[in-house]
């Protein structure tokens, strides 16, 4: 007998497999050229056979993303606390942040290249700037949602601002923070690969660029798949940490909101 949990998981896994099967079948039935849309089997076999060549690029992209993400996390939390705690900072920084996040990052990459040359540095910076916004917004929102009654209770007891922050506001912010990390880590990948496709000679983005220009579409898709796997893996890591650290916030629904 299978537990309902396992059955549930099997069901969703089989649907995912089914989707790939449908893709495969569609490619065969409609005679779709591999240059337009390769079959999943071809993509997976390319991914497998090319792995030795792809691996250093995957590591490069992963490392760049993690550095950009880590920096984004540190700066994002600092900015978020700043914006969330001070009303003036909120009013000053918020429009700036919204404005900055509205700029397509593809437009920023050339500027970074101009400043730092092509390579890893602009990729790290693009990852950072792409992933920072949700972190800042969520940390600031979390801090701002402290119940006024709770604050009154603590102030009447004689608590200092730091004590309120430490005992109530920061723990209350944790679910928002982790929800933003899950989103931010996938965004960081987008930033890295974006920069790699424009200005680098290493990393999955570069591989995909070169593959498409030589019409090696299965390899380009293999790169996409590698990215997707990395994204899912890192998302899961943060989802698990989130569950450990602030399971109290998701007691009702099984899936946290992104």
């Amino acid at each position: 007998m299978l537990s309902p949990q396992i059955r549930e998981n099997l069901k969703s896994a089989s649907f995912i497999v089914l989707m790939f099967v449908a893709w495969e079948v569609a490619c065969i039935v409609f005679h779709i050229s591999p240059i337009v849309l390769p079959r999943p089997s071809a993509i997976f076999s390319t991914l497998f056979t090319q792995m030795p060549a792809l691996w250093p690029h995957i590591l490069q992209t992963l490392a760049t993303t993690m550095v950009g993400f880590a920096l984004g996390m540190v700066i994002g939390v600092a900015l978020g606390v700043f914006v969330g705690v001070s009303r003036t900072a909120y009013k000053t920084a918020y429009p700036l942040l919204v404005g900055f996040s509205s700029i397509p990052k593809v437009a920023v990459v050339p500027i970074f290249v101009l400043w730092f040359g092509s390579g890893t540095v602009p990729a790290v910076l693009t990852a950072l700037t792409t992933c920072i916004f949700p972190i800042v917004v969520n940390v600031a929102t979390g801090l701002a949602t402290t119940e006024p009654e709770m604050e009154d209770v603590l102030k009447a007891l004689g608590a200092s601002r730091m004590q309120v922050l430490w005992n109530v506001s920061l723990p209350r912010t944790m679910p928002y923070f982790f929800a933003s990390l899950k989103v931010a880590v996938t965004l960081a990948f987008v930033g890295t690969v974006l920069s790699e496709t424009v200005a680098s000679n290493f990393g999955i983005g570069t591989v995909m660029m070169m593959a498409t220009s030589s019409f090696d579409v299965p390899l380009a898709f293999a790169g996409l798949f590698a990215l997707a796997f990395l994204g899912i893996a890192l998302y899961s890591v943060f989802a698990i940490i989130e569950q450990r650290v602030c399971g109290w916030a998701n007691r009702k629904q099984e899936f946290a909101m992104g």
């Binding site: 119940e147 009154d152 209770v153 102030k155 009447a156 007891l157 004689g158 109530v168 723990p171 007691r251």
Partner: protein, 278 residues
């Protein structure tokens, strides 16, 4: 920091005093007087209930004494010192129990010990021994034995409000501020909690300010009832309540009790009529 001391006390100690206090909210055209020239002296161990039409400044008085709000004019003294200069560790409970969901009920209740001196000095050492026992003893008194390790979301509204009372009282405050603590509960739970609160109060006799819209609640619990007029708030009636304690639900059926609540109802009704004419 120089805290102004209260004027020389003549006869009877006082724990809280409002002198010619006015509170104005808002600015310009939107400004309004929430509390008009109010004088009030509260003796230690008083159980003061404040009733009146909504928006009459009941909670404003509570916040003034708790030091959460500064008067626009006048002075507020608490325990002989001007409020705001130094806090005295006032216990507080609102209608919303605001238990922190990432802590157990016991940890929630012990939170004031982490903040109020002298407890906070030894919190690290005592939290698993003395303070823990203290929290459990208090939980037992409100009928929550064995719930210390539960999380807030596992408790019903009435149970959370019991825990809320524990949190407000764990550090044996001299002053207890209750802002419609039972407002969101059903009638039966509410009446049960009146008795619980009365028992807790009779043990240590803290000074209590209770804001309520339930006149029976005020008459059941208070030793003194302040009736307030509609905005701008003023104390229009200051009445001592001297039914013998412990009061029980039977007390509420006695004619003196019903006379008192009817009197209060009339006074508040008159205050509301005043608003409509204005």
């Amino acid at each position: 920091m120089t805290a102004t001391t209260a004027p020389a006390e003549h006869g009877g100690a006082r724990i809280a005093q409002l002198e010619d206090v006015k509170v104005r909210f808002g600015k310009g055209d939107n400004a309004f007087l929430a509390l008009d020239r109010t004088n009030l002296t509260v003796r230690p161990g008083d159980f003061v209930a404040m009733v009146g039409p909504s928006g009459c400044g009941k909670s404003t008085i509570l916040k003034l004494v708790a030091g959460l709000l500064r008067p626009t004019e006048g002075v507020v003294f608490v325990a002989g010192r001007e409020v705001g200069a130094e806090q005295v560790g006032i216990g507080m409970a609102f209608q919303n129990p605001t238990m922190l969901p990432w802590l157990t009920i016991r940890q929630n209740i012990m939170l004031p010990l982490k903040i109020v001196k002298p407890y906070s000095d030894t919190f690290g050492r005592d939290k698993n021994t003395v303070f823990r026992d203290r929290a459990d003893a208090l939980l037992a008194k409100v009928g929550l034995t064995g719930f210390g390790d539960r999380r807030p979301w596992e408790l019903s509204g009435g149970m959370l409000q019991r825990a809320n009372l524990c949190r407000a009282l764990i550090h044996s405050p001299k002053l207890l501020m209750l802002d419609e603590p039972f407002g969101a509960l059903d009638q039966f739970t509410r009446e049960e909690l009146w008795a619980v609160l009365q028992d807790l109060w009779m043990e240590t006799k803290p000074t209590v300010f209770l804001v309520t819209h339930d006149l029976r609640e005020a008459a059941f619990l208070a030793s003194r009832i302040l009736v307030m007029s509609a905005r701008p708030g003023r104390v229009t009636e200051d009445r001592a309540v001297d039914f013998a304690r412990p009061r029980t639900l039977e007390t509420t059926f006695e004619s003196e009790f019903t006379d008192l609540t009817n009197d209060l109802r009339r006074l508040i009704f008159a205050a509301r009529q005043g608003v409509e004419k204005a």
